[in-house]
Symmetry: C2
Subunit: 301 residues, 2 copies
């Protein structure tokens, strides 16, 4: 596994792969991460490996997506452990870990935004500049690497949908693939932030997943009113002393609220377990309800 | 000369050029335009031809850079005449004329902005969303074509400097080259908007260029106070019944005002000749003053 730090070298390396003189050019699958890699990230890398000749992973804790009061400084960083995991996976051609000074030099002012409701609701309501930071860093990485496909996790559904829209609308070559959330045995969605939890908090954190499962069951049993489902999720969370920031039922393509559970509906929630903010979601596809549940298929959108 | 309308076809065509199996890959020079081509555009194409194996020109009257009260509908469009000029030049490999519905489909919301003073002053003051439209369309075109170099005219200096910053900060591969303004015999900077002028207005329009030349002479004779130079430009314009929107002396790298003419200073002006808004500028390089004037060299920044 090659390890590159400079953007110019990364660009050249990716370009050479594509050019592949005299041979069939290689396709590149790209997995952008903030490190602290877990099985969720590894599943994205596996998906990239299945569908491309080469896999590039980036690790960059992107300051532009953290607000001043957020956990930028506390965010887990362990490059050594990450590199070990990536090497063991034997799937990654190249790791790219750019430096902050190169990505955001002094006087930096160029940003990419999806300027509609999609970025203002849900996580965008409490983190107003968060998605601007996300779309900007991903645009930069796409410009350096120019991959054929980019792999994102459904756990961060709103982020993934925003990036999919951004990549398509700004005419990036890369196709955005949204892959299923990877969970612990108790259902808790894997997240680098789970490491913040005390053992006690770790025990109550799966309440989020359980509440979403209850919502799915309600719909399966015939409930179609979004507010009734949301109310039940909130009740369940409260029961387990988990504080809800938001619980919403939305159209997974636009992130706009739905009153009825119909067609494709995403139910998303953000909660606080102690001081740790966790998010999770489920996509209910009324048309393919059974098929989706059976296959747990990739790119559920 | 190939003529492509669809973005996907343009991407594929540019990609094939770069890949050039078994051969040295081809470099691509790109000239983005809004059509109504004149000698200014042709000089950019010539520069692109000199420095690259292949030249791609785009023609797209970009609605995102026109405000509701501006001249989007009146903006000159004559694709037949443009194609004739491009064919005669024998320098263009491919013309790309995307459609509005493909570039900005319904619900379009992804924008690229340079979010600092640079886009708020000068033309940005009277055209607050103008540069957002410019940076967005150019980002889209760069993503489709992925050229090695992009050629812009110094006549639109603020636009060129903003795009140079955007391309660099968002890590685009393309190097942005700013080429000298091409002028009529009487000094009027060539512009597609010159076609709006009545014969009488066309006679007074060179007042803008003349006023900038007077400014250069003042500096040559020792004047270093920006306000004195600006005052004289305004006086000259008034003398010729040309209404000034702005006249400013700025740092050409940042577009921030300068009080003293020192180092590199750009003097920019926007004027109204009748209802037609025209812009022009001159860059005074105190260090290379004589060299710049002698060579009229490319990429004066």
């Amino acid at each position: 596994m090659k390890h590159i730090i400079k953007a110019a070298e990364m660009r050249e390396f990716a370009l050479k792969m594509r050019r592949a003189r005299g041979k069939q050019p290689k396709t590149i699958g790209f997995v952008p991460t903030m490190g602290a890699l877990h099985e969720g990230h590894m599943s994205l890398i596996e998906a990239a490996k299945r569908e491309n000749n080469r896999v590039i992973v980036s690790i960059f804790v992107n300051p532009a997506q953290f607000a001043a009061n957020e956990d930028l400084n506390e965010y887990p960083r362990n490059l050594k452990a990450d590199i070990k995991k990536l090497k063991q996976a034997k799937a990654v051609t190249c790791l790219f870990t750019p430096g902050e000074a190169e990505m955001y030099p002094e006087g930096y002012a160029s940003y990419v935004r999806v300027e509609n409701e999609m970025t203002k609701v849900l996580c965008g309501a409490s983190r107003p500049e968060h998605f601007k930071g996300v779309t900007t860093i991903v645009a930069k990485l796409l410009n350096i690497i120019n991959p054929d496909r980019m792999y994102l996790g459904q756990k961060d559904l709103q982020q993934a949908v925003i990036l999919k829209k951004m990549a398509k609308e700004l005419n990036y070559q890369a196709e955005v693939k949204i892959c299923p959330t990877v969970r612990g045995k108790d259902g808790l969605a894997l997240s680098s932030r789970n490491g913040y939890l005390t053992p006690e908090q770790r025990n109550s954190a799966p309440a989020l997943y359980k509440a979403l499962k209850v919502a799915e069951s309600m719909v399966e049993l015939g409930e179609r009113d979004a507010q009734s489902v949301i109310k039940e999720i909130r009740r369940k969370l409260k029961e387990e002393n988990v504080e809800a920031e938001y619980v919403e039922a939305v159209d997974p393509g636009t992130m706009l609220k739905k009153e009825k559970i119909s067609g494709k509906t995403a139910i998303l929630a953000a909660v606080f377990v102690g001081k740790t903010r966790l998010i999770d979601n489920t996509i209910i596809d009324m048309d393919e309800w059974n098929a989706v549940k059976k296959e747990n298929k990739e790119d559920a959108l």
